[in-house]
């Protein structure tokens, strides 16, 4: 079973708007444990622009596209530094994968990306995926990894998307296709719920269905 986790940096911020390392540690613990339970995890994480701006001492987040791209190049290193540090605590290997959204439409790229991710998952590594902002502007304009999450799910045939909810210590479980209702799950019940779902839907073909052409039909709200 494969799950794409969609992580927005605002879920890792404290109330004063600064990066909260404790929250990232919590996230890496929960994801490592999911991985340990036998589920393939792919993490699509934003945060490069935020951490780049913080690293460069910016008072405000960059607005122009070019500025965002440059700041993102600085921040992506920071982002991976933190992920690596916290996953290391729990002995979980992580890898950086930067993709552009033509990864689905371009057959060569699709094959390359698919093979890379397949090998990483078979080694129980968690790929940490972000848009390659230096060469692409699809999600940077949206300030959200919305398309990237769906592309990655498509690429590896993941049936479930997990997103951090605004609510404290809760996750949203979003199903591929529209036949099951999205769920809001407590962090502590995450593994039980997912293995429950796994048992219920095994053999059910809807998980292998493609996402609808119109991505906006997939709701990221509970």
């Amino acid at each position: 079973m494969k799950i794409v986790v969609k992580l927005e940096i605002n879920y890792l911020l404290s109330t004063d708007g600064t990066f909260d390392k404790k929250k990232m540690e919590r996230l890496t613990l929960v994801l490592t444990n999911l991985r340990n339970s036998g589920i393939d995890i792919l993490l699509v994480s934003s945060g490069a622009i935020f951490l780049g701006a913080a690293k460069l001492g910016f008072e405000q987040m960059p607005v122009s596209r070019i500025q965002k791209q440059a700041v993102s190049a600085v921040g992506q290193v920071e982002l991976m530094k933190y992920y690596r540090y916290y996953f290391d605590i729990f002995n979980q290997m992580a890898a950086q994968v930067l993709l552009t959204n033509d990864v689905i439409s371009n057959p060569d790229r699709k094959l390359n990306a698919k093979n890379t991710l397949k090998i990483l998952l078979s080694k129980e590594i968690i790929p940490i995926i972000n848009e390659n902002d230096s060469v692409s502007t699809d999600d940077i304009d949206l300030d959200d990894n919305y398309y990237m999450v769906l592309n990655v799910a498509e690429l590896v045939g993941a049936g479930l998307i997990l997103a951090k909810s605004e609510e404290k210590r809760k996750f949203q479980l979003i199903f591929r296709g529209r036949k099951l209702k999205n769920m809001l799950i407590d962090e502590t019940g995450l593994i039980e719920t997912i293995s429950d779902v796994k048992n219920k839907i095994s053999g059910n073909k809807y998980l292998s269905e493609a996402f609808p052409e119109d991505y906006s039909k997939i709701s990221f709200q509970p």
Binding site: L29, V30, N33, I89, E124
Partner: protein, 266 residues
């Protein structure tokens, strides 16, 4: 005295957690369960109880680090994974206990640590000193030097030896079964949980031994051996399911959970 009263007087407690309670069915370590266990034990220690933890899990952690796809087959492989995993296991325990400000210590013992007179005194002194300092000792078998062909990953008898050594009042053994059953609950439909036992009869021993492989990973035979050892030393034992570590709160309050093995001479 009823169970509630008896258990409220237990001050020195050894908690034994088996690998089945600490890992997933694929053999990988369950971090969130370790975290919860650390939180529960710290709270109980803060209530004034003296605690010692006998924990498996080194092989599971070692398997995760090396990316082993299968559970180790032979003894040497298990010993190697345990050596890799033990250091990491303690690192993770330390982290989870320190989240609540609880200090821990690692103590690795072999069987003769409890039988050889010189080693016994040393082990006793070390554990006592740690208890006095309010530190929770985390004990495991010293797998690298154990040569007795003991089945690794099973600390049942070790936990009883530790309980006897430090003159514990109670040994709590957490496994992946709810307690002792009248028959194998996975095969016999009307098997019932036995709430309390005061005497290990040959019949009981036989029925437990006959269903060896289906009772937890350690099997029931080694658990009965451990309980007999505790009975000889007048120590009570509770056998319960470790899937929710918070069960320990209820067990030390005397709630009717698991199987309570009551040593008759105390």
């Amino acid at each position: 005295m009823d169970r509630e009263n008896k258990l409220s007087n237990k001050k020195r407690i050894v908690v034994k957690v088996g690998s089945s309670s600490l890992s997933f069915s694929n053999g990988r370590i369950n971090l969130q369960r370790m975290e919860l266990l650390a939180s529960v034990l710290t709270k109980i220690r803060n209530e004034g109880k003296n605690l010692i933890l006998v924990s498996s899990g080194a092989v599971a952690v070692g398997g995760g680090i090396t990316g082993a796809k299968k559970k180790p087959g032979n003894l040497a492989e298990k010993q190697a994974l345990a050596a890799i995993g033990q250091a990491e296991l303690l690192k993770i325990y330390q982290k989870f206990f320190m989240q609540h400000g609880q200090l821990v210590a690692q103590v690795l013992l072999t069987k003769d640590g409890c039988t050889n007179p010189m080693r016994r005194i040393n082990a006793y002194n070390t554990l006592n000193a740690l208890l006095k300092m309010n530190i929770i000792a985390i004990i495991n078998e010293n797998d690298t030097v154990s040569t007795r062909g003991i089945e690794f990953g099973n600390n049942d008898v070790l936990s009883a030896s530790v309980a006897e050594l430090i003159e514990a009042d109670l040994l709590i053994m957490l496994s992946d079964i709810d307690g002792l059953y009248s028959a194998d609950p996975r095969r016999v439909k009307d098997a019932r949980l036995i709430p309390s036992v005061t005497h290990i009869s040959p019949e009981l021993e036989k029925s437990a031994g006959g269903s060896e492989n289906s009772f937890g990973t350690g099997g029931m035979t080694t658990k009965i051996d451990a309980i007999k050892k505790c009975f000889e030393a007048g120590i009570d034992v509770i056998l319960a399911n470790g899937k929710d570590p918070e069960i320990i709160y209820d067990l030390i309050k005397g709630k009717e959970l698991g199987t309570y093995f009551e040593a008759d001479n105390n």
